[in-house]
């Protein structure tokens, strides 16, 4: 291939799974797929479909059942495996990244120390570099594992659910970090369940379908052509608007006026509580924000009422007389 410079990793007719004595358990149809340099790919699919196995096979930890993998660049992997050794500092764990380059006595050269320091800095771990692993939060541990993979000097990073069990802040931080690393030239494949984060950060999506194939594409294309809906069989989540679907069970239409985030969150609260926000209705709610204080006004025919929180507003609207 002429354009093989851009291809970081390439599989042809790759079959992954488990070899047992009686029969091979193959997880996907033969996979012929490319990872292009500098792209952030999110690998999605339901639990237990074989994402981890494919990642491990791509990294060379597990042998493929058949087919070939061409790795044009070296691969580092971040798994969900727990590190049981507690008496190890963040820096010690990042140092492991240099192991492929070290002799049996683990002599660190200036270049190794440089790479370790860079990795720690890139993931912003300097303040906790000398902390023991068992003193870290899950998010910090995950960041440390990413730093270790960076210290490995590999151009391809494979990550298995790096944002699992993390709070929103940590999830966004990790995805932003991966985004930045991809922009700096790393090729990144992330197995994840975070649909919303994947849609907003990935250059490309690999989607494992129930038919055991892997569909690839740009996230927006997969949203619009309905592939996500088909694969995940989304229940009550409208991917095209990015929102949970609400049923307006109260059969009350409200004409909401206002703007900015105050308008959006009021709309959210009304819809969540079964009201329908429509363009024209006799029941009108106006949201206005003056110097940081928000007021909500209910107008019906000629009555006016003012409220200062959405909670009060909802309470009033829920009363039968309204």
């Amino acid at each position: 291939m002429f354009d093989s410079i851009d291809i970081a990793l390439q599989t042809s007719n790759l079959q992954v799974g488990f070899k047992t004595r009686l029969q091979n358990r193959v997880l996907f149809e033969p996979i012929s797929i490319n990872l292009t340099s500098g792209e952030l790919v999110c690998f999605m699919g339901s639990n237990g479909i074989g994402k981890t196995t494919l990642l491990k096979t791509l990294a060379g930890i597990q042998a493929p059942i058949s087919g070939t993998i061409k790795r044009h660049q070296s691969v580092a992997i971040v798994l969900t495996d727990k590190i049981s050794a507690g008496l190890m500092t963040v820096r010690d764990l990042v140092t492991y990244g240099r192991y492929p380059y070290l002799n049996w006595w683990l002599t660190l050269h200036d270049r190794d120390r440089q790479v370790i320091d860079d990795a720690i800095r890139q993931v912003h771990l300097e303040p906790i570099a000398d902390k023991l692993l068992n003193q870290l939060s899950d998010g910090q541990l995950q960041m440390t594992m990413i730093a270790k993979a960076l210290a490995q000097d590999a151009n391809i990073l494979l990550l298995d659910e790096p944002t699992a069990h993390l709070d929103l802040n940590n999830r966004v931080e990790i995805m932003n970090l991966l985004r930045k690393l991809a922009q700096a030239g790393k090729t990144i494949l992330v197995a994840t369940h975070e649909l919303d984060l994947a849609l907003q950060t990935a250059d490309k999506i690999w989607l494992a379908t129930p038919e055991q194939t892997i569909v690839t594409g740009i996230p927006e294309d997969l949203v619009l052509n309905g592939t996500f809906d088909r694969v995940f069989q989304l229940k009550g989540f409208d991917l095209k608007t990015g929102k949970i679907q609400h049923t307006p069970y109260r059969n009350i239409g409200i004409q909401l006026t206002g703007n900015g985030p105050e308008f959006l969150w009021t709309k959210n609260a009304l819809e969540r509580n079964g009201f329908e926000v429509v363009t024209d209705a006799t029941l009108k709610v106006n949201v206005s924000s003056i110097e940081g204080s928000v007021t909500f006004q209910i107008e019906t025919n000629n009555r006016h009422e003012q409220f200062f929180s959405i909670e009060e507003l909802l309470l009033k609207l829920s009363m039968p007389s309204a």
Partner: protein, 336 residues
């Protein structure tokens, strides 16, 4: 990984070991003055020199070697299985050795196995038993993917052999039983210089191999997947760790009997003193620590000022267990 403090602790360990070795040589049922010890070490004349060279030095050297070997074996097993409960005997080698020694000592009346009556017969029987279990374990280690499976196999072999030993004990004569029980209690006093040379050379190879395995041991701490991704040959490392431990534990059991506790406790004690998971520090520190503990236990077993000698196994556990409990309570946790 932090070098300076750990390096100092290892240096202090070496100093303590030197002092203990000297004290161990100086103390015994016959009191020998300090100057006579020094003289006896350099001039082979007189009864003092005879006692030193024939009894005390071989015993102290056996303590040194056996302690170092068992503790290192324990560390290797705890790392391989990533399990703080593992000791050098988890592979079942000790049980295999006891089985063969039991057959030799207890069933000899019926089968005249003790035809070749020599000091080596027990050692040879123990080595054969250990080697047999070792071959089983090695072939399983090459075959199974999973370390836990290996651990279970080792425990099962231990269970099976010890029940067989119980049957032998049940059916044997009282004085045979006593000989066997004494062997089971462990002893470092029975080795002569020719046995010591065998012990030293095999343990020497084992300790050198352990140091050569430092990178693999560190890698295994992260789990197999990460170790593989870091370019460590897990299969080869696993076999090498088992071979190294098997060699060292086998030869110690052959000459000293099944010495308990040292292998399990020393790695924990060392990690409580030097909180690290880096085998570059742990391996040398545990070697020295094992030698220190066994020399100290032997010193206590001699009951200073008395002519009685207590069984070594009783002392190692009696002294060691409270120390480990105290240190664990102090540190509030234990890790591999």
């Amino acid at each position: 990984m932090k070098r300076t403090p750990s390096g100092w602790v290892v240096f202090i360990f070496a100093l303590v070991l030197g002092v203990l070795f000297f004290v161990n040589v100086s103390v015994g049922s016959v009191s020998i003055p300090f100057t006579a010890i020094i003289k006896g070490l350099f001039y082979h004349t007189g009864i003092e020199s005879e006692i030193l060279w024939q009894f005390r030095l071989p015993k102290a050297l056996t303590c040194l070697l056996a302690g170092g070997a068992l503790a290192t074996g324990g560390l290797l097993m705890q790392t391989l299985f990533r399990n703080p409960m593992a000791g050098p005997d988890v592979l079942g080698l000790t049980s295999g050795a006891s089985l063969f020694v039991a057959v030799l000592l207890l069933a000899s009346r019926y089968s005249s196995l003790l035809l070749i009556q020599s000091t080596w017969s027990v050692a040879i029987a123990a080595s054969m038993g250990g080697a047999m279990v070792f071959l089983v374990i090695i072939s399983i280690a090459r075959y199974v993917q999973d370390n836990t499976a290996l651990l279970i196999v080792g425990l099962m072999i231990s269970a099976a052999t010890s029940s067989f030993v119980s049957v032998l004990q049940f059916t044997s004569q009282a004085d045979d039983l006593q000989t066997f029980m004494i062997w089971m209690l462990g002893s470092v006093g029975g080795t002569n210089w020719s046995e010591l040379i065998v012990l030293a050379s095999i343990i020497g190879v084992g300790l050198v191999l352990s140091i050569a395995l430092i990178k693999d041991l560190n890698g295994i701490l992260l789990g197999e997947s990460y170790a593989l991704n870091l370019g460590i040959n897990i299969k080869k490392a696993r076999v090498m760790i088992v071979v190294t431990t098997g060699m060292m534990v086998g030869v110690v059991t052959a000459f000293c009997g099944p010495i308990a506790f040292v292998g399990l406790a020393v790695p924990h004690l060392v990690r409580l003193v030097i909180p690290t998971a880096d085998h570059k520090t742990l391996v040398p520190a545990v070697m020295l620590g094992g030698a220190i503990l066994l020399l100290a236990c032997d010193l206590l077993a001699q009951l200073p000022g008395s002519t009685h000698v207590l069984p070594l196994n009783a002392i190692t556990s009696l002294i060691g267990a409270p120390i480990v409990i105290w240190m664990v309570i102090k540190a509030k946790r234990i890790s591999v």
